[in-house]
Every structure is written in structure tokens, then in C-alpha cells.
Amino acid sequence: MNEIKFFLDYDESEDGVTIQDKIETYLETNNICEAKKLIIGAWEEPFDCGPEDIIKYLVENKNKFPNVESMYIGDMDSEECEVSWITQSNLAPLLDVFPLKTLKIKGSIDLRLENANSETLEKLIIISGGLGKNLLKDIVDAKFPNLMHLELYLGVDDYGFDGDIDDIIPFMIRENFPNVKYLGLKNSEKQDEICEEIFKSNILENLEVLDMSLGTLGDKGAELILENVGKIAHLSKLDLTYNYISDENIEKLQNKVNVLSTEVLIDRDDADYDEDDEWRYPYITE
């Protein structure tokens, strides 16, 4: 079995069933869970409560999940809970006991990765409406020596992003993330600033993919990319999907990157273009 998802539907939530009950029932029948990927979906009232009890249960029963190498905590959609309303908790204990290669998290209220430490973690993705600076610091301070893919939906201040560019710059320091090949600093209201800092940083040189999608990247960012096009020539992919770049600069960028072997994704997608950058929003800003 490759993956398994435990979640509560409407009726189960109403009846007071918990995810732990459901895992327990599964384990009673199957003894162990052989899945490599464990997905935790909607738990009871995710807009009010975090998954602390589920995490505790998983940690206490780690031996029942001998093959798990990937986890997704908070796989729910807006029918179940708005992304920006999903309450999380400190998920570091999962990394202490499971040899995870991938950890994907949705939702960031109360999310922490305190003193996180994992020799195995290669991929960390956090989807949110806004990441708090405490969490950003947790990630910078964490010991993830083998991390290759780091993808952070930074978000907006209305939904939990309480930092500034100085809290994001540490993700561009190669020494902090020596093996990162995929860097996603995305879905940010500071996308132009991120773009500016990226070109000053020492991380770009050894990246394969730079993902600055889903944010408010505008002409300022586009012009920086045009000026520094030589610095992205080694990338296999530059993702700028969903942006606020003008038609003129989109055309310039397309012409300039056409000659590169880098795949550049520049579709404006659903972005509601507005001349006035006060009215620009990242993709997930609920």
C-alpha cells in the first residue's frame, strides 16, 4: 500500500468520532499500517482545535507505521476548513520519531516546528495563508541536513505572516540549507522584495528550481529578473505562475528567457491585475 488517509466526514464529526478512533479501528483489523504515505485530513473542528492528540497518538504508536516516509498533516479543502483557519500544533515530535523524507503541512495557526531535527527529511512543504515569524525561525534553526526541497507559502499579515523581509532572508543563505535544490518562497505579499534579495543571495547559484509563484510579483520583480537573467540560466525551472507583471514585461521576459534552457512558468492565471499594488493579493489569502 502506498498511501492511506484518515479523516472525519461531516457525520463522524457530528457524532464525536476522532481520527485516533479511526486509526485504532484500522489497526484492530490490520494490526499495522503498511502505507509509505500517511495523510491526516479533517479532524474534529480544525478551525478551533489543532491535531495535538493525533500527533501524540502517532508518536506513541510509531511502531504501527513501520514504512511511513511521507506525511501530510492537514489535507483538507475549503469545504472542510479554510486554509487560513486550519489550526495546527507543534509537529516537530513527528520528525523525532518517524524517518520522514517528506513532510507536507496545510494550515499554520499555532504551527511550530520547535527544535526540529531530522536526518532524513528531504522535502518540506507548508501551505498556508500566512506563516508566523516564530515558525520561520523554527525552520531556519531546525537541523535538516538533507533537505532538498523547501516550499513555503509565506502569505499575508492578515492571515498570520507577522514578519518582514529580514525573516525571509535566512532562507536564502546557502549555509542554512546546504542541499536545497528546490526553493519555493511563494504566495507572499512581499514577492518583489523576495525577488530582490534572491539575486543578492548565495543560494541561487546551486538551485535547480526557484519558485516565486502565487505571490504579488510585479514589474519591479520582473525588471530584476530581466537585469539578472544570467543568474537564472542554470535553473531547470523558474516558477512565476500567478503574478502581477504587466503585459509589456511579460513579453520582454518571454523573449529573454526563450533562449535559455530554463523552463519559465509565467502564466498570470487568476491574478486580478490592478495597476495599484495596494490591491494585489497572493493566491491563498483567505
Binding site: D9, Y10, D11, E79, E82, W85, I109, E286
Partner: protein
């Protein structure tokens, strides 16, 4: 038997012509069309056209806002708008105004038409719509109550109902101390008209509303787009308007997903059998097709077992509305395939670009109505 057809409706929309074209295709050419405007002028036009062996089909008002005005005038007795007020309404922005008064006016006219049909019963008439049941189905609160009473005998479920307060402040004092997700539905709104998908988060003190309803100060109208509002004043204005105009509130059942999109299914039930299923998919919680949502062939995206659950649920609804020939039943299935009824539409037989079947559902209606009038 030489059969006549009498269609009552609004020529500004597509319904009357679509149905008449189906009749012509089947070589039924004795078709008389009466508009609502003619009925308002002199209701005897209806009786004059009740020839022997007539099948009658009532279609709802569509885009002609003068018809809206007409029904409002017939509802003056129980409404807040006087004839003078109604004459002054500028309908150029298709505003929704006094839906309860509109419903009362519509009811009055319908009851008169029903009486005329009973009076002329000896002519062998068949009215495809059962007026009493149609009027219940046009009221979301009454529909819920009727279904709730007989729920236990059928294979469907209803979302939990909540008491509907008079306005936003009362709503907040009643429900404001807990996080919740509900649909606040305009009682006399058709389909998605005046439906608010409402969620609040106590912890963040956030509220949000998904709706196709919008307003420009005191003018409320339907959009062709589902918007998401979080701004407090806007949320309050929208909720106030729906509650003040009569609402039905029920819990928000998370819909099952297909390709990352939430979906529900319209089941067209005729003669107590589900004859056509159409799934509507959306990124927003409101799936109605006129809101530019995506349609899908239910048969292609669901297992036979799931389809059967939806068929049984919708047929269960029509076992309760058992005097009606047809209706469109909207069924939400949860991720574990539990079927919830979220809307019953007495005019739910207009499907544009049917997929998966080669015949318009009107052919089924015509066939059955003819069998009935012939006493077969």
C-alpha cells in the same frame, strides 16, 4: 384523441420555446402560449384556452422584470410595497426586491389558475405541475419541513436545520459564540438566488460569506459569479437582507470532491424515477450552473453504487411530493456517499446541452403527460 398543449410562461427566457420546440419535433402542433403579462391583464384568457384534452405546463418567470413587477402587485395585500412603490421600482439592474411579497402574488395567481383547472376538469385537462406542491417547493423552509416529516421512510438525509433569527445582530447573539459553517438561504429564492455560504471563526474573529448575491447600498441583486466576502460591513448587510426577507438556515455539508472540485448532483425525477443525473463542480461552495460552474456526466465520475444512492435519494423526495410529475432534486453526497437533499426545484427540468443522453428530458415529460391524459 387530439391533444392540445397550453403553455404559460415568460417569452423573454428560453423555457417556453425549448418546450414548444420539443412538442413540434414530436408533431404536436396544437400549442397555445400565454404569457404572464396576458394573465395579469385578464386571467380569463387562461380559461378561454382550456380546450378539451389539454395538457397544461406552467413555466416560471424568467428575465422579463415587468412580470416580476406584476407578481409584486398581486402580493400587495400581504407585502410592504404599495402599488405606487412597485411602479417606481427601477429594475434595470435586475434587483431582487420583496421576495416574500412576490411569492404571495405568485401564489395568488397560481391558486386562481388551479381553481380554473378544477372548474374545467370535465374537459379532460392535465396540469403537469401540481400547484400546491409547486408552491411548497418554491419555499425552502416549507420544503424542508415537508421532507423532514417523512424523512424516516426514505433514503435521503437533510442537513441540520437552525432557527432563523430576524437580523444579523440577533443571529450573532444566538450563534456568535461558536465557530460554524451554515448556508443561510433566502426562503423564497429560486436555486442559488440569495444563498449565503457563511462561516465564522471565533478564534480569529473572522467571518466570511460565499454568495452570488451582491448589493449596491439598498439594492440587492444576483451576480453570475460567486464572490467571497470577508469585510464585516458587507457580511452584515448581506446577512441582514436575507434574514429580513425570510430565511431558512441549515448546516453546511462538505461536498465530495472530484479532481479537487466540490460537486453536487441534480437529479431530474419524472414519474418518481430519476431519469437524468447531472453533476455540477465548483471551486466555490455554490455549484449552480448559471454561475459558470463546470458540468460533468455523473455516470463518468461516480460508481454505479454512488449513482444509485443519488437516484434513490431523489426518488425518495418525489415519493413525498407524489402529486408532481417532475422536479429537479439537488443532492450533495459526502465523501462517504451519504446523500443530503439541499434543494428541490419544481422547474428543475431545463438542462442546456445535456450530456450523456441524446434526448431532452422534455420528451419524457411529454410522453408521460400524454399517457396520463389518455388514461393509459
Amino acid at each position: 384523441m387530439n391533444i392540445n398543449f397550453l403553455l404559460v410562461g415568460d417569452l423573454s427566457g428560453r423555457r417556453i420555446q425549448t418546450f414548444a420546440n420539443c412538442l413540434r419535433k414530436l408533431n404536436y402542433n396544437n400549442i397555445t402560449i400565454i404569457t404572464w403579462t396576458e394573465i395579469f391583464k385578464d386571467i380569463s384568457v387562461f380559461e378561454e384556452n382550456l380546450k378539451p384534452n389539454t395538457i397544461i405546463k406552467i413555466e416560471p418567470p424568467e428575465k422579463d422584470m415587468e412580470i416580476y413587477r406584476g407578481f409584486l402587485k398581486h402580493g400587495i395585500e400581504k407585502g410592504k410595497l404599495s402599488e405606487r412603490d412597485i411602479d417606481k421600482i427601477d429594475f434595470s439592474d435586475f434587483k431582487i426586491i420583496a421576495p416574500d411579497q412576490w411569492y404571495y402574488g405568485f401564489t395568488k395567481i397560481m391558486e386562481q389558475l388551479d381553481k380554473l383547472c378544477i372548474k374545467n376538469k370535465f374537459k379532460n385537462l392535465y396540469l403537469m405541475n401540481n400547484i400546491a406542491e409547486m408552491l411548497v417547493m418554491m419555499d425552502k423552509k416549507q420544503t424542508y419541513e415537508v421532507l423532514e416529516k417523512k424523512l424516516d421512510n426514505e433514503k435521503f438525509y437533510l442537513p441540520q436545520k437552525l432557527y432563523s433569527p430576524k437580523n444579523y445582530d440577533e443571529f450573532k447573539s444566538l450563534y456568535g459564540n461558536k465557530s460554524m459553517k451554515v448556508f443561510i438561504k433566502l426562503r423564497y429564492g429560486s436555486g442559488s438566488t440569495g444563498v449565503l455560504g457563511y462561516a465564522n471563526n471565533i478564534k480569529l474573529q473572522d467571518e466570511l460569506v460565499y454568495t452570488s448575491l451582491n448589493n449596491n447600498s439598498n439594492n440587492f441583486y444576483s451576480n453570475y459569479k460567486v464572490n467571497r466576502f470577508t469585510e464585516k460591513t458587507k457580511v452584515k448587510e448581506l446577512i441582514n437582507w436575507v434574514l429580513e426577507n425570510g430565511a431558512h438556515i441549515e448546516s453546511w455539508i462538505p461536498k465530495d470532491k472530484y479532481n479537487g472540485k466540490a460537486f453536487d448532483t441534480r437529479s431530474f425525477v419524472i414519474n418518481k424515477k430519476s431519469a437524468y443525473l447531472l453533476t455540477r463542480m465548483s471551486k466555490s461552495p455554490i455549484t449552480n450552473l448559471h454561475l459558470k460552474n463546470q458540468r460533468a456526466n455523473s455516470v463518468e465520475i461516480m460508481t454505479e453504487e454512488n449513482l444509485e444512492i443519488i437516484r434513490n435519494a431523489s426518488e425518495g423526495v418525489m415519493n413525498i411530493f407524489n402529486k408532481s410529475l417532475y422536479a429537479g432534486i439537488d443532492v450533495v453526497t459526502t465523501s462517504r456517499n451519504k446523500p443530503y437533499i439541499i434543494d428541490v426545484n419544481p422547474f428543475g427540468d431545463l438542462f442546456h446541452n445535456l450530456i450523456g443522453i441524446d434526448k431532452n428530458v422534455h420528451f419524457l415529460e411529454i410522453k408521460k403527460a400524454i399517457e396520463i391524459i389518455r388514461g393509459e
